[in-house]
């Protein structure tokens, strides 16, 4: 099966277009071309602010990377996009996040639906303590509509899309914990793909992996971007440069510079950005 193809109809691939070129250090996309539209988002853990009046648009079907020093708020921003902060009672926020024009905090939005549309892969591979097959089928079973045959098909498709099928097709009933770290991370991606999300949030997905596994994950990210929007948080400048189309540089909870990746890495507008990407700033 072709890993690029989604069974059923497949989604149309719309290349993002930069409608309005840079306004200061930040590029902007038209609301039609953007998947996420974040407007004046401030977020605080108790009394300590993590994000301050952050405004940016994430283009559809591209890879967008968030970079910045530790504690700059990039992971916080990522977790705000699928409302994982809801779990923490101390978190408060202001501003608006729209997904395809719809406010994700609107009362009519069910948070489990939102999270199904906005999948997430974490820093530590977190397969559940079940078999490889059951891991991939987990989200499908939650939806609870599928026949066994259809489920088998989707599991195979998702594992193929995550470039894992050939490694695990003979051991689907084995524990997911018997896989290597890199395989586990690809399994988690397959598990997320199986519920057919529109957006995939990747929170330093390769930081716990060896270089070869990292390359495989990066290939995977590149291969997926035709079908869905990917947002990548990474500490690794080369990784951001290799896989992303656009890069946002955050510092102390504020958006500093947001530009096409090539521009940001070769010709940053601000000295702060240059200092960071060249490693002259801690």
């Amino acid at each position: 099966m072709n890993p690029q193809a989604i069974p059923e109809e497949g989604r149309p691939t719309v290349k993002a277009t930069v409608s309005r070129p840079s306004r200061g250090p930040v590029i902007d996309f038209s609301p039609e071309a953007s998947c996420f539209d974040i407007e004046g988002l401030s977020l605080a853990y108790g009394d300590s602010p993590a994000l301050e009046a952050l405004t940016l648009r994430v283009p559809r079907h591209c890879v967008t990377a968030f970079i910045g020093p530790s504690g700059c708020g990039k992971s916080t921003l990522l977790r705000a996009l699928n409302r994982l902060h809801d779990l923490d009672e101390t978190v408060s926020h202001a501003g608006r996040i729209r997904l395809e024009g719809q406010d994700i905090h609107a009362p009519e939005v069910a948070v489990d639906d939102l999270r199904r549309r906005v999948g997430m892969v974490f820093q530590t591979p977190n397969p559940f303590p079940m078999s490889i097959y059951d891991n991939v089928a987990f989200g499908l079973r939650l939806r609870g509509v599928l026949t066994r045959r259809r489920r088998d098909d989707i599991v195979e498709w998702a594992l193929t899309a995550a470039a894992l099928w050939h490694e695990v097709k003979d051991r689907l009933r084995e524990s997911a914990w018997s896989l290597s770290g890199g395989q586990q991370q690809r399994l988690v991606i397959a598990r997320t793909l199986a519920v057919e999300p529109e957006v995939l949030l990747l929170d330093e997905p390769a930081s716990a992996l060896d270089p070869i596994s990292t390359l495989k994950i990066e290939d995977l990210i590149r291969s997926l971007k035709g079908q869905l929007t990917l947002i990548l948080v990474t500490h690794n400048m080369q990784q951001a440069a290799r896989v992303s189309d656009y890069t946002a540089f955050l510092q102390q909870g504020r958006l500093v510079e947001y530009a096409p990746t090539d521009t940001l890495f070769t010709n940053p507008r601000l000295a702060r950005t240059e200092n960071y990407i060249t490693g002259r700033m801690a």
Binding site: N82, L84, L87, E89, D112, D113, R115, R116, G119, M120, F122, Q123, T124, N126, F128, P129, M130, S131, F138, G139, L142, R143, R171, R173, E174, S175, A176, W177, S178, V188, R191, T192, V195
Partner: protein, 523 residues
């Protein structure tokens, strides 16, 4: 200077390691000596001791085995304690003798030790076996001494055992169903006739068992007659080979494990107590696990983590420090008198004033112990829940799972080993607990185990026996504590073993759960 300091630090570290190792060694030593004491004193009791024929300097003779030897309190020399049996003849089973007065001590092989239903042990000689007048093929052979009589006794004992079994089978398989039929329909004449016939057969068997009589002689020459039906076991310890002794030891041990107690718990076996202990602990585990796990889930997953939750948590932890007798009083007041009394008023009015659930019983004892062990299960489960990494939960939520789906499909399966750890700790705590049980349902003697063939098969209202209480009772409340002492040790050892087996079961279960993922590949 710094070198000196380094050397001192190294010395301190060495001393620390020695101290730690020493405390471990000391605990192991204490534990080992306790178990050895229990094993030696308890298991040694079943070893057939050689019977000494003691001749005193004044010509008096007695037979028995040495129990211990101590220095005389006020003069030179030592004295020995003999177990001489024959309570029905001598009035006592113990005899202290100064060693200096013993003229001779021999071990004649013909000495017989009989275990009797009444009056305990007999030690002496077997003169003859007299079959009853109605038994065909047996002539009275009063004159035949020694081996022939012994062979007859062995044969008769085996026959007696068969008769006993036949009678029990008849009672269990014929009489009891007939009685039940008659209870349902008192007009059933066929059943009535069959019952009469069966009862007659039982009476006949009983008469046949009563017929044989033994002629016994104590070593000082007193003769008397002993109905064979009272005799439970007979040995000639001095004539046994080491292998024979081992067989007799095994048989004694088996009887201890498989039979009910006799002689006010100072002799006989502990089977009802083993059964009662295990059943109660299993029931307790079944009751405490769901409650404890739900409470832990609420505290850890659902409740707002504020001051109130912290307070509740501290309170739960401190409940573990409440003396167990207080739980017993609570159980008596709330479960037995409160709930049990109400149940009696509502459903068992016809049996009042004799209570059904309004008195201590298996259910109330299990509930009380479940309450007692609840903190242990809650704390262990909560710790297990806290150990589950946040990214597992978030992973489930990020796939669109609701909170309930996340808890039931990811968190609960991962918390099972911790829950089982809680159950293991609860079992260890509950199985050794005696004080609260005295108030809520344990019995000194309940030879009927709470499970039988009568509906509803498991009788939660019945009183039951318990190994721990059995130890207490036979050690402090018997007529002859000295005689019961070895059984106390054996029972205590057994209790430890029962707890060990229960724990090993739970540990095996936990191991199974933990390795299920490795085992998935074998499917």
């Amino acid at each position: 200077m710094s070198r000196l300091w380094a050397r001192r630090r190294a010395a301190g570290e060495g001393a620390g390691a020695w101290l730690a190792a020493g405390s471990v060694a000391l605990s192991l030593l204490l534990l080992g000596s306790l178990l050895t004491l229990l094993a030696v004193r308890g298991l040694g009791h079943f070893w057939p001791a050689s019977v000494a024929l003691v001749e005193l300097d004044d010509g008096r003779q007695l037979a028995g085995w040495t129990v211990r030897e101590l220095p005389l309190p006020e003069s030179e020399g030592r004295e020995r304690l003999y177990f001489t049996g024959n309570r029905d003849r001598d009035g006592d089973v113990w005899e202290w003798l100064p060693v200096a007065r013993i003229a001779a001590q021999t071990y004649p092989p013909e000495l017989v030790v009989l275990e009797r239903r009444r009056w305990g042990t007999f030690i002496g000689r077997l003169v003859a076996v007299e079959p009853g007048p109605e038994t065909p093929g047996w002539e009275s052979e009063t004159a035949a001494p020694g081996d022939t009589a012994w062979a007859r006794l062995a044969a008769r004992l085996a026959a007696l055992e068969r008769l006993r079994e036949a009678r029990e089978t008849l009672e269990r398989e014929t009489i009891r169903p007939l009685v039940r039929r008659l209870e349902a329909d008192p007009e059933d004449t066929a059943a009535r006739r069959a019952l009469a016939a069966a009862s007659e057969r039982v009476a006949h068997l009983r008469a046949a068992m009563d017929e044989t009589t033994l002629v016994l002689e104590s070593v000082d020459g007193r003769r008397f007659r002993q109905p064979l039906v009272e005799v439970l076991a007979a040995t000639r310890p001095n004539a046994l080979s080491p292998l024979g002794k081992l067989v007799a030891w095994g048989r004694g041990l088996w009887r201890f494990l498989s039979e009910g107690p006799r002689a006010a718990n100072s002799a006989g076996g502990v089977w009802p107590a083993i059964f009662g202990t295990v059943l109660m602990v299993l029931l307790m585990s079944l009751l405490v696990t769901p409650f404890g796990v739900l409470a832990a889930f609420y505290l850890n997953e659902v409740a707002h983590q504020g001051r109130l939750t912290r307070l509740v948590r501290i309170a739960v932890r401190n409940l573990a420090g409440v003396p167990s007798i207080v739980y017993g009083v609570f159980g008596l007041g709330v479960f037995v008198y409160g709930i049990g009394g109400t149940l009696d008023d509502w459903f068992f009015e016809d049996r009042l004033p004799s209570p059904t659930f309004g008195t201590g019983g298996l259910l109330w004892a299990s509930l009380t112990l479940a309450l007692l062990t609840l903190p242990v299960v809650i704390v262990a489960t909560e710790e297990g829940l806290a150990r589950i990494p946040a990214h597992q939960r978030e992973g489930a939520l990020a796939l669109g799972a609701t909170r309930l789906e996340m808890l039931s499909r990811v968190v609960l399966p991962m918390a099972v080993p911790a829950m089982l750890t809680g159950v293991i700790l609860a079992v260890a705590r509950a199985a050794g607990e005696v004080a609260p049980l005295m108030l809520v349902g344990v019995a000194k003697l309940a030879p009927q185990i709470p499970v039988d063939g009568d509906f509803p098969f498991l009788h939660l209202d019945r009183k039951f026996m318990h190994l721990g209480y059995h130890v207490y009772d036979s050690a402090f409340h018997g007529d002859d504590v000295q005689a019961a002492m070895p059984l106390v040790f054996a029972t205590a050892l057994l209790l430890v073993l029962v707890i060990l087996v229960l724990n090993l079961t739970a540990i095996f279960l936990r191991h199974h759960v933990r390795t299920r993922h490795a085992a998935l590949s074998r499917q």
